[in-house]
Amino acid sequence: MATHSSPNFLSFREKSSARRARRIVAAFLIFSAVLTSAYTALSLYIATQLVYAPQQPLYATPAFFGMQFHRITFPSREDHVQLRGWFIPGVLPGGHLTAQRTIIMVHGDRTNRADQGAGLLKLSVAFAQHGFAVLAFDMRGAGESPPAPLSLGYFEQRDVLGAADFLRSGQLPYPELGRPRVIAGWGVSLGAVTLLLAAAKEPAIRALVSDSGYPDFASILEREVPKRGHLPPLFTPGALLAAQALYGINFYDVRPVDTVARIAPRPIFFIHGDKDSFNPSTNMFVLATAARSAPDAHVQTWLVPGADHAQSFNTAGQQYVTRVTDFYNLALGPDTGKVSGS
């Protein structure tokens, strides 16, 4: 209840109390505005840094290892980003080339299709020498592909889907080899995440190898953003929301753990280094458990002794190639030597 009385009757005490109330509220308003403005500005800055990765040049081509290959360009699915890559035909024992079983190679973040650190080009060559054609490409914002924000799989999954579309209906560089009879995928780190997300949407990817994948990216970012930015963890949600406002990237949605079960009955081979200092090897079992939740799942795991993050191939060497090609041979069947119509 209030009274309405003449201002002339307001006592000095009342005036002073009214002024104090206004000042407290004004101070609270200023404090909140300054605090939130500073938080927003810093979050926007962190978001711009988070998604920017300088593009690394390729250190070599398959020709360096004596392999035939063609440079290719194909569009990503949905947004048609023109991606660059190589198509390396598989080599059969008699020296004949083949494209019947083609593996899409997906690299990790802040690197490219040759990725010297993870030995990606060497592995592509090894697969080709075992009779598998290889489509190795640079995801958006990497290598020779156009600049793009690093979205940790949120947009990059369209690149993998674009690669699958290209193999099924694009203009392939070796028309005499026909179209691939089967398509498989291999991905490392971010590439593994991207491949898992894409394969859940694209049944044409018939078998997958996920090396050093993550169940979700938010938990990695919740560790890395404060660590790299030397900031308290409270800036992580702000930066992730700012990335959504700036680039339309929803990092909270990059969760292969939620979609991996949809890949069944197609087989998945999870590989992880037991000395992975960036992405704990327990994450492989989280993913494998999620994948096995499908009733008709075919899941294998391999914990590579002594391997750090994305170093399983470099650590296990020939054993890695043997185990992975055995997996593909079993999942995709042998090369029949026949050429499929294009």
Partner: protein
């Protein structure tokens, strides 16, 4: 609810108070918040539209447009919010001088609530649980 009082000219009049006065005060106090939310939504929509409009040009152009819109929107938001809050506080002072206590009190509570809502993103970021990978 109503009460009798005497206005500055000395004539007696009946005025309705609590519910109407409280609502009036609260609504005026919430104007800065309403304006703030409206501008934020408009800026976010503009940023999304701007991003879409230049998506074919490339990432750097897209980033430049989005950052420019957000920075301009951010500054515009702060200015509009400060002006609206200042105007409301002046209005409250006027009501206090006119002894419209219920109205002024509710307007101040609404402004306090506004400050709390403005701080909400920071408070949520502080309080919401995070599960960083070890």
């Amino acid at each position: 609810m109503s009460t009798s009082s005497i206005d500055p000219t000395g004539s007696q009049q009946r005025i309705s108070v609590a519910p109407h006065e409280a609502l009036h005060g609260a609504l005026v106090g919430l104007i800065p918040l309403g304006l703030l939310l409206f501008v934020v939504v408009v800026v976010l929509l503009l940023a999304a539209l701007g991003r879409q409009a230049v998506s074919a040009v490339g990432f750097f152009a897209q980033q430049q447009v989005a950052v420019s819109i957000l920075i301009a929107g951010f500054i515009a938001t702060i200015i509009l919010y400060a002006l609206a809050a200042n105007r409301t506080l002046r209005q409250v002072a006027l009501w206090q001088r006119s002894s419209l206590h219920v109205r002024s009190r509710f307007a101040l509570w609404a402004l306090g609530f506004t400050a709390l809502v403005v701080m909400l993103p920071v408070l949520l970021a502080l309080l919401l649980p995070q599960h960083p990978t070890p």
